[in-house]
Symmetry: C2
DNA sequence: TCTTTTCTTGAACATCGTTCAAGATAGAGC
DNA sequence: GCTCTATCTTGAACGATGTTCAAGAAAAGA
């Protein structure tokens, strides 16, 4: 059902994603309204539903961009570390920094709740998997005891754990924590998870 | 602004929380509608706004119940462990089991996004803090090198990390993972985080 | 019993996502 | 150029939603 993306940088689809990205970055996911975003993109309300299935579909495209940017940051970061352990630490710092600098867009990636049963399309999942794969590399060096299958799973666990820490700390619903304490905590978490050689599993 | 809670088990407030809890448990947070919940509770639409400030306010009361039940489960669990390390492992298993058995209600606790700037009331934050405090105990035994302040922070980190793992694994948006693989991963995470004595921080 | 306060009601309002029939536009074939 | 067809565009309309509010009912106090 996903129509071919025309390469043009000035298609309606592109302008809509731009407008939605701005809106989410400024007002958060909840601040994204169909009427507002179509006005920003300079088209009628209904045109949105010709370009995309849904508002959720539009958000998915914004989120894909965000994931791509994080993946690019990971790419740079991976070149920074001397050994695998340092690479892992750099990746963690990169993640924290990215989340802090792109708060709204980053939360939108995880706040979007697809309706019951509807799962993300392949072109979206691919991006998430690419992120995990960047972790598998250094993790494999640090944990030669784990099978490829276990490595894949453990990389996701590590990602999810860091995600949970950053997310729950950023969310001011519960007691707010000074931002400069997040990075050390995440570093401790990652170090503990990667220094697992002495202890089994 | 929070009015006195009358003790009666059959007040309108109580019936509304009951109805909302059922609705969330069955349909998820997104399935909770003002008209539906007031019909279930047997009152008019407007009565909701006399009993509670808001729909969000109602959800907060449902979430408080959920947090109380998790705290009770933690209470039982803490009596189960021989030493501190085992206690911590039991707490982790308890958390995972609780989240799996109360999926919708548990996600509602973290899915509720208060409007910009509005933070949770004290009577709600107290419940979250109580949960963390149950972790601080065994963690203090395992990590005598940490100051009280660092302990409080590290307990939150641990909680948030486990939360992230369970949350991201349950969310079928990204690749789904068999449920029986979650518990071992969380166990490995907790073990790594508590066995930090040899490594610094 | 009268007065005052509190609770209850459901119609009304504003806003939202989404649909759709009608009009505009753009190619394709000749 | 002309015609037919397919696609894009439009904005009014629909149904659902959260919230408000004036009016009436019930309860509480004196």
């Amino acid at each position: 059902m996903e129509t071919q993306e025309k390469p043009g940088r000035d298609t309606l689809r592109h302008r809509l994603v731009d407008a939605a990205e701005r809106r989410i970055a400024e007002q958060g996911l909840a601040g994204l309204k169909a009427r507002q975003v179509t006005a920003d993109a300079g088209c009628a309300l209904g045109a949105l539903y010709n370009a995309f299935d849904d508002l959720d579909d539009l958000v998915l495209h914004v989120n894909a961009r965000t994931l791509d940017r994080l993946a690019a940051a990971f790419d740079d970061a991976r070149r920074g570390g001397e050994d695998a352990e340092e690479t892992m630490a750099v990746l963690a710092r990169t993640y924290v920094r990215f989340a802090l600098e792109n708060r709204m867009l980053w939360s939108a990636v995880f706040a979007l709740a697809l309706p019951e049963g509807r799962s993300a399309p392949d072109w979206y999942v691919v991006r998430y998997r690419a992120l995990i794969d960047q972790i598998v590399g250094p993790l494999a060096t640090l944990r030669p005891d784990l099978s490829p299958d276990q490595l894949q799973l453990r990389a996701r666990t590590l990602f999810a754990a860091v995600h949970g820490v950053v997310g729950l700390f950023l969310d001011a619903r519960f007691l707010a924590v000074p931002q400069d304490r997040i990075t050390p905590e995440v570093a401790a978490l990652v170090k503990a998870m990667t220094r697992g050689l002495s202890a089994a599993d």
